[in-house]
Structures are given as C-alpha cells and as structure tokens.
Symmetry: C2
Subunit: 210 residues, 2 copies
C-alpha cells in the first residue's frame, strides 16, 4: 500500500482517531493501540509519525486550538463593521462554531485542559490560547468603557464562554450551540452600554480608547 506522501494523510487520520478515542473512553483509556485500531493502522505508526504518544497528544491539542483560532479569525475578517460589538459577537460565534462543538472535540478539549495543568508543553498551548481570548475581548471592551471596567467585562465573558463549553461537554447530548450562543449574546447585551445599535448594519468606527 505504501505510496509516497502518506505523512499528512496519516497524521490527520491519527489526530481524528485520537479525538474519537477520547470521546469514547476518555484520555486515560485512550491507548496507542486503541487509537491505531480506530484509525485502521498499526500501533507502531504513531511513534513513526509523532515520535510517541506525547507527540500525538500535543498535535491533537494544537489542531483543536488552531481550528478555534481560525474560526474566530474568519468571522472577524468577514465583518463589515469595525464596531466593538460586532467584533465581540464574532468572537462569541467563533467560539461556538459548529466544528468546535461536536462531541469529540468538546470532550477532547476538556480532557486536554485538565491535563495541561501538569504537562508543560500542553500548558504553553493553553496559555497562549487563553491569553488571546482575554486580550481580544479586553481590547474591544476597553473601547467602550473605562479600562478596569473593560477588563472585568472581558474576564467575565471569557469565564462564561468557557463555562458554557465545560457544561456542554458534560452532557451526553453535547453542547447546545444555539442556546450557548444566545446566552453569551444576552450577556453581551447587558454588558454593553445601550447607546449603540445592536443590529448588523455597519456602524461608524469608534475611537473611544481610554
């Protein structure tokens, strides 16, 4: 079977199989043999392409976080408005994007969050992602309110987004993306001064940077 150029195909297969295995039996029981069987290949291939189990886990987490980042970035790029509210809504929607919310991804995300507390390489990835979410939110909020108030708003909205993920990952039915998005948007409505229009028409840019 060996054709040339299998590496990217196998890597993708194995990353996907890793998420499926973690979704099925949890990180603790996601052995290399189970992952390999899920992907339809032999166990040895994992060390060949990822240098070992750790490498595969890191690659899997990296993919989830990259997908999340891309999902948010795409929605922000598509905005016709520079209004802070529009950006904040794009960040919320990106975080509850379809591709991010399927059962396997949500459970894998939580499993990695938990184990990143004691694995330096995973912790680094997690921190980069956390700080980006907070920084993005904080920057937009601070355009609309005093700095300290904006930071608190960012902390609170970040907590709510992660909390909705967390609670969604626990339920068997998986996260209700529609409901989560609605709850986060309602919260945003409460946070923002009501002086701004909330529909989707392009708004004139604001420059209220404190």
């Amino acid at each position: 079977m060996p054709k040339v150029g299998m590496e990217p195909i196998r890597r993708q297969q194995l990353i996907k199989a890793t998420m499926a295995a973690i979704d099925d039996v949890g990180l603790a029981d996601a052995t290399v043999m189970r992952i390999a069987r899920q992907a339809g290949v032999s166990a040895g291939i994992i060390s060949h392409y990822f240098g070992g189990k750790d490498g595969l886990m890191e690659a899997t987490m990296r993919q989830i976080l990259n997908d999340l980042r891309a999902s948010v970035a795409a929605r922000r790029r598509a905005l016709s408005s520079r209004a802070p509210r529009a950006h904040l809504e794009a960040i919320i929607d990106g975080n509850f994007d379809r591709s991010q919310v399927t059962g396997p991804v949500a459970k894998t995300w939580l499993a990695f969050w938990s184990s990143s507390m004691h694995q330096p390489r995973l912790q680094r990835l997690q921190n980069v992602n956390d700080r980006r979410l907070y920084a993005n939110l904080s920057h937009q909020f601070c355009r609309l309110m005093p700095r300290e108030e904006g930071r608190d708003a960012a902390r609170a909205l970040a907590a709510m987004i992660d909390g909705l993920w967390l609670r969604g990952a626990l339920t068997q039915e998986g996260l209700d993306a529609e409901q989560a998005r609605r709850l986060a948007r309602d919260y945003l409505d409460q946070l923002l001064p009501s002086t701004e229009a909330s529909d989707s028409r392009p708004c004139p840019p604001l420059h209220a940077e404190s």
Copy 2:
C-alpha cells in the same frame, strides 16, 4: 501503633493526600504508591479502607462535592432575608468559599470533572451536583422574572461560576476568590431588576412565584 478507631482518621488522611497528589502531578500520575507515601502509610492500606483506587477516588470526589454543598447550605441558613437576591448571593459566595478554592481542591475538582465523563459512578455524583446548582439558581430567578427568562439566567450564572473555577484552576497562582466573587455578583446585579434593594439589610419576603 494500631489503636482502635483508626478508620476515620486514615480515610481523611488518604483523601487529603489524594488531593495533594493530584495537585502535584495530576490525576494520571497520582499512583497509589505516591498517595500512600504522601499520607505516610503503605500502599496496601488503600485497598483495605477503600476497596481499591477507584473507591478512594470516588470518596475524594464525594468529599469535595459535600464540602461545596455544605458551604452553600450554611450561608443560606444564615440568611435573615428570604429575598431571592440574598439567596443568589449566598449561592455565589458559597461556591467561592475559602475551603473550596485552595489550589489542591480546585485542581482535583477539574480533574474529576474531566474523568467523570467516562466513569459512571463519578458521573452520577457530578450530575447530582450540577442539577442542584441549576435548580437552586433557577428557583430563585423564577421568583423575580418569567419562567423561561429565569431558566436562562440560571443557566448563564451557573456557566459563569463554573467558568471562573475552570479558569482559576488553570493559573499557577490559583483562583482569585475575591475577584471571582465580585465578577459573579456584578453579573447578578445586571441580571436582576433594579427595583430591589441590594444592600444586606433584611428585606421583606417576596412572593413573586410565577
């Protein structure tokens, strides 16, 4: 050394040691030998008192959830007001109680949350706790607003509380309980109709049950 009545003492020692071990090296590397060494006893004693590692893990999770429940219940019992806002504040404060927020407890809580997705006995404990938090919040909110609105408020506040825990568990410095409580209370202020006094003086009982 053997005196009579060691069982409750050893059980407590081992549960505490389990949290310390999970705090140190994570659930995956919290072996029975490490936990036993941390507690200053031998490995065999764990099977003797808990029937095995699983039994110890379940007992540890049960203790964390019981402490949390007791912390909320105590604050609600101490209330002189029957006002929904007072109860909601008590629930928030109880969730960010000192005893719940120390590093070992927060990390252990998250580790169990993650592994409860695939261990039926832990999942049961988790569900009981989740439903209680939601039911308590929902009941109080529904006294102040229409039913569907109250349920959404409960879902959102529950997500924020868990999200603040989640983010607090990740940081090395541990959860900033003061800040978390403040953010959750600010959110509560935004959710509640401003017709009600927000200070701590006893308020006349409300009967706005929808």
